[in-house]
């Protein structure tokens, strides 16, 4: 059983998804989703422990040996991403029960959970597979179900947001499949390990750089790196709260993982950063993302949109760490995948609580809300402190590593940009805090604290922000190992 864990991790949710749609009872569908999410969480955790202890796991699907069959490979880098996806799903699903009943029509709830499980399955599949075409398949599973999930938003604009994402996402996926096709033409293999071995041996040619470029553009579109982020703010704003919390904490993270896998494992750091000089493209874009998107976030009146722009800026931090192409920089980037999932998850879930009670997350509707919903707003403040990077939160740990990585290469202006990004975060977080804490509650408002099940889930993530901010030895340990594996040292 434990030998088959890599495949069961993906197959069990994949099989569960149709059942969630077929039983057609909202609460039963929810229970199936809950089971799938917790299965993914526990299995991912077990896999991570196993790879940290015993090294990479190779699993040949149907016993067809690689490179002819599809292979699943688990190493610290993707076990980490699997854990992020599983963890966020496990926290979001209990929260979803009430939130979704409020935001999605009853008739569509079973379909919603089916799509939700599929989306999670797709993300897990992208992370675990060792086959590049399989990546594309799972990418489509997760993307198509994500479009459906976003379109279920209560606001009619959710439809256009979803359509926009569909177009942009499909362009990205097409670029990725073109890149994969070109690689296949040149090497005759789709297995990642095989590709990594064959690519350096090829005669210099123009096809591989073209493949590389297609993949870069396609993946950065998926991970919403500035200026390819245009689909993200609308999608996050109009999607149901649960979907926003889940996708914001996982989908872009998996895309970042894909970037890491292609650039470091498959093409190799010396090709990506030496020959193709990827850092010269990624670093300026990341810096611009951090600065401009944080500033744009300040001017938003819809708090979900504000957080969405903040996400684009935070993706800048991850890409910045990667573009430094050093062990420390990669550690910072990989660490921030996890840390950002914790903080953005908590913030979007707090906003979901507001949506549940107030019916809107526009800032003018949040006057004095801290009096009516003290726990919800306290969760928002705590998540906000983490985004700012106050010590003893995970945000601080990310920043500590990122700045260290920048200073290590003498790039002190980069360190300054990271810190300025933090200060801009103070402004956009405090904008909400001032409204919620310093204005009077609207006289006719009859608002109660959010339901307990939603609060507990939200606070679980909030406390995780502090827990992993105070004792970061486990998270930094895994991130460092993942960085070493990707750079091909020490493994």
């Amino acid at each position: 059983m434990s030998h088959h864990l890599p495949v069961l991790l993906v197959v069990i949710p994949l099989v569960a998804a149709p059942f969630a749609a077929l039983v057609n009872r909202p609460r039963v569908s929810w229970a199936i989703a809950l089971g799938s999410a917790w299965w993914a969480f526990l299995a991912a955790f077990a896999l991570l422990r196993q790879v940290m202890a015993d090294g990479p796991i190779h699993y040949a699907l149907g016993d067809w040996a690689a490179p002819y069959g599809i292979e699943y490979v688990v190493d610290p880098a993707n076990a980490w991403v699997l854990l992020i996806v599983g963890m966020i799903a496990a926290v979001v699903t209990p929260y979803a029960l009430l939130s979704i009943e409020r935001e999605v029509p009853d008739a569509r709830i079973p379909l919603f959970y089916a799509a939700f499980i599929l989306c999670m399955t797709g993300l897990l599949g992208i992370a675990i597979t060792g086959d590049v075409f399989n990546v594309f398949v799972f990418l489509e599973i997760s993307s198509l179900s994500a479009y459906a999930l976003i379109a279920l938003g209560r606001d009619r604009r959710a439809l256009t947001a979803s359509y926009q994402y569909l177009i942009m996402g499909s362009v990205g996926a097409t670029f990725i499949v073109i890149g994969i096709g070109l690689l296949y033409v040149m090497t005759g293999t789709l297995n990642m390990a095989d590709l990594a071995q064959i690519l350096p041996e090829l005669e210099p040619n123009r096809t591989i750089p073209v493949a590389f470029t297609f993949l870069t553009v396609g993946i950065t579109l998926k991970l919403a790196l500035f200026p390819l982020h245009l689909w993200l703010p609308n999608a996050y704003t109009y999607a149901p709260s649960v979907v926003t919390a889940f996708i914001a904490s996982t989908a872009t993270k998996v895309a970042v993982y894909l970037l890491l896998r292609f650039f470091f494992t498959i093409f190799g750091a010396s090709f990506s950063f030496g020959e193709m000089q990827l850092d010269k493209v990624l670093m300026p874009l990341a810096l611009v993302a951090i600065l401009t998107m944080s500033i744009v976030a300040i001017y938003q009146d819809n708090v979900k949109r504000l957080l969405a722009y903040s996400s684009v800026a935070q993706i800048g931090y991850m890409v910045l760490g990667i573009s430094l192409a050093s062990a420390l920089g990669l550690t910072a980037g990989i660490l921030h995948l996890f840390n950002h999932a914790l903080m953005k998850g908590a913030l979007f879930m707090a906003m979901g609580c507001v949506m549940y009670r107030v019916g809107s997350v526009r800032i003018e509707r949040m006057n004095g809300l801290a009096r009516a919903m003290p726990w919800t707003m306290a969760a928002f403040v705590a998540g906000g402190l983490s985004i700012i990077g106050v010590p003893l939160t995970v945000g601080f740990i990310s920043k500590w590593y990122l700045i260290q990585a920048a200073l290590e290469q003498g790039l002190w202006p980069v360190a300054v940009v990271v810190l300025v990004g933090s200060l801009l975060a103070v402004v956009y977080v405090w904008k909400v805090v001032e409204v919620a804490y310093f204005r009077d509650l609207d006289a006719d408002a009859d608002i109660q604290e959010a339901p307990l099940s939603m609060l507990i889930a939200t606070w679980a993530l909030v406390l995780a922000n502090f827990w992993f901010g105070i004792d970061a030895s486990a998270t930094t340990g895994v991130a460092r190992r993942a960085a070493e594996v990707l750079l091909g040292v020490g493994s």
């Binding site: 500590w400 810190l419 200060l423 405090w430 001032e434 804490y437 105070i470 004792d471 030895s473 930094t476």
Partner: protein, 491 residues
């Protein structure tokens, strides 16, 4: 009790007390009793650490390793113990004062007030006992954030604007400058532990180390070196006990304490004296001393005048550190205690005048001395200490600071100290002199006979005024502790 337990409890007891206060919100008498008991207990715990230091030990408590090489840890050394003594003793006195003030002034949300007050004290003691820059920074930010609700206690528009300035300046300086300096130090020295003799010597060029020093001095916004002083006058919108304990003692002293600590234990006095930047920064502190006094002159609002006086006096301590010799550090460290007792007396008096006579402006306090003789008598004694005249404790610290300037061969800086004292003579003594000897304004309605503030407030004021005089006769403890910080010959 073991020393480790003593350290842990002196930080945790105020936190525990805070939560009991929260639980007892409905019973004000029990709530205040708990605060007082917690304060007494904290002082007792802190004083229990003194014998260890006298034996030459440095009690240490490692809590955990946050990221590899960076500990969350406490280590008690004499300077920190002095600061912890001052903060925990004055907390008790301020609580007594606050009981009179908050009830006399019919303030709302008193439970929240006592709650955050206790947390702030825990933050201050955490700063005092920090074993390294990381721990110090963490508690420094705790102190910033948990005083925000105190500054904005009244939740008016004015309070909100003041809160923006407060948080804006303190977070900007600490994140943009101080954090950068800390990470840079870590990068160069490979450690952030406070070590006798410093950790930075020989790690980089004088230019780089000078830049780090500049980042530290301006990055510690709580020391209010101009131009980063604006937060302190803004914080005066808070209720007077907050201004008294936090903005004359805990918060600002945490700032100058950090600078002393960095000077002695991160740079080391030898390195500090050798840097060109030190001399420049000493003049920046000198400029703050003079400008602060001059601005204090122009303020008619008593609390505003005291705020600028504080800004000026804080730079005495910064200057003491930057003199980079034994006398400067001893004088600076002693001034933490001496200024604390003097300035808290002044603030207590200002608050008493507000509660009893409802006056804020000095020009309207003419003749008030006859109605409130104890209050203005206490003000007089506090003022003497701030100016540095016998028979008040402030004369000792100013004496040593003066010796420090001569030791450093900086007659110009000695002149600055003198001129500022002369200015203080005028702008502080003006208040009691006019209150006792001038005629009241015609439209003022003064009650017949003596009409003082509530008894609790009076008791607190008498205690601190007596202690101010007592410190002139017995400065031994402060001197003893500070001589342990910089061992050397007898005076």
């Amino acid at each position: 009790m073991s020393s480790g337990l003593l350290i842990a409890l002196s930080v945790l007891l105020p936190v525990a007390g805070a939560f009991v206060v929260l639980a007892l919100g409905k019973w004000p008498n029990a709530r205040e009793a708990v605060t007082l008991i917690t304060g007494g207990g904290t002082l007792w715990l802190v004083s229990g650490l003194l014998p260890y230091l006298r034996e030459g030990a440095r009690p240490r408590l490692d809590i955990l390793e946050v990221v590899p090489g960076v500990q969350l840890a406490f280590e008690v050394e004499p300077l920190g113990l002095l600061f912890a003594f001052v903060a925990s003793f004055l907390w008790i006195v301020t609580t007594i004062y606050a009981i009179g003030y908050m009830r006399g002034h019919e303030e709302e949300n008193q439970t929240r007030f006592y709650f955050f007050f206790a947390i702030a004290i825990a933050g201050a003691i955490g700063v005092a006992f920090s074993a390294n820059l990381f721990t110090l920074f963490a508690f420094y930010e705790v102190l910033t954030l948990c005083t925000f609700p105190l500054v904005t206690h009244h939740q008016t528009d004015e309070a909100r604007r003041a809160g923006r300035v407060y948080l804006g300046v303190l977070l900007t300086t600490s994140i943009a400058f101080q954090l950068l300096a800390i990470i840079w130090t870590w990068q160069l020295a490979g450690t952030v532990e406070f070590t006798q003799g410093g950790i930075l010597a020989g790690t980089a060029s004088a230019g780089v180390l000078g830049a780090i020093l500049v980042l530290f001095v301006f990055g510690v916004g709580k020391a209010a070196v101009m131009p980063f002083h604006r937060w302190l006058p803004a914080a005066m919108v808070a209720p007077t006990p907050v201004s008294a304990l936090l903005h004359a003692v805990a918060v600002v002293k945490a700032g100058v304490f950090t600078i002393l600590k960095v000077s002695v234990y991160v740079f080391g006095l030898d390195l500090l004296g050798a840097l060109a930047a030190t001399a420049w920064l000493a003049w920046a502190a000198a400029a703050t001393i003079i400008l602060g006094s001059l601005i204090a002159f122009t303020k008619d609002n008593l609390k505003a005048r005291l705020a600028y006086s504080t800004i000026s006096q804080l730079s005495y301590i910064v200057l003491g550190a930057l003199l980079a010799n034994r006398w400067g550090v001893i004088g600076g460290g002693m001034h933490i205690a001496m200024h604390a007792f003097g300035k808290i007396t002044l603030f207590f008096a200002a608050g008493a005048i507000l509660v009893a006579a409802h006056e804020k402006d000095i020009s309207r306090m003419h003749g008030l001395g006859r109605t409130m003789p104890i209050t203005f008598g206490a003000f007089f004694i506090g003022a003497l200490s701030i100016i540095g005249l016998p028979p008040a404790g402030g004369s000792w610290s100013k004496w040593f600071l003066g010796m420090g300037t001569l030791e450093a061969g900086q007659v110009g800086l000695l002149a600055v100290l003198m001129v500022s004292s002369l200015l203080g003579l005028y702008y502080l003594l003006e208040v009691p002199v006019k209150a006792f000897f001038f005629k009241p304004p015609e439209d003022a309605h003064r009650p017949e006979g003596i009409h003082e503030a509530p008894t609790a407030s009076l008791i607190a004021m008498i205690v601190t005024a007596t202690a101010t005089i007592g410190l002139f006769a017995y400065p031994d403890l402060a001197y003893e502790l500070m001589s342990m910080v910089v061992p050397g010959g007898a005076p």
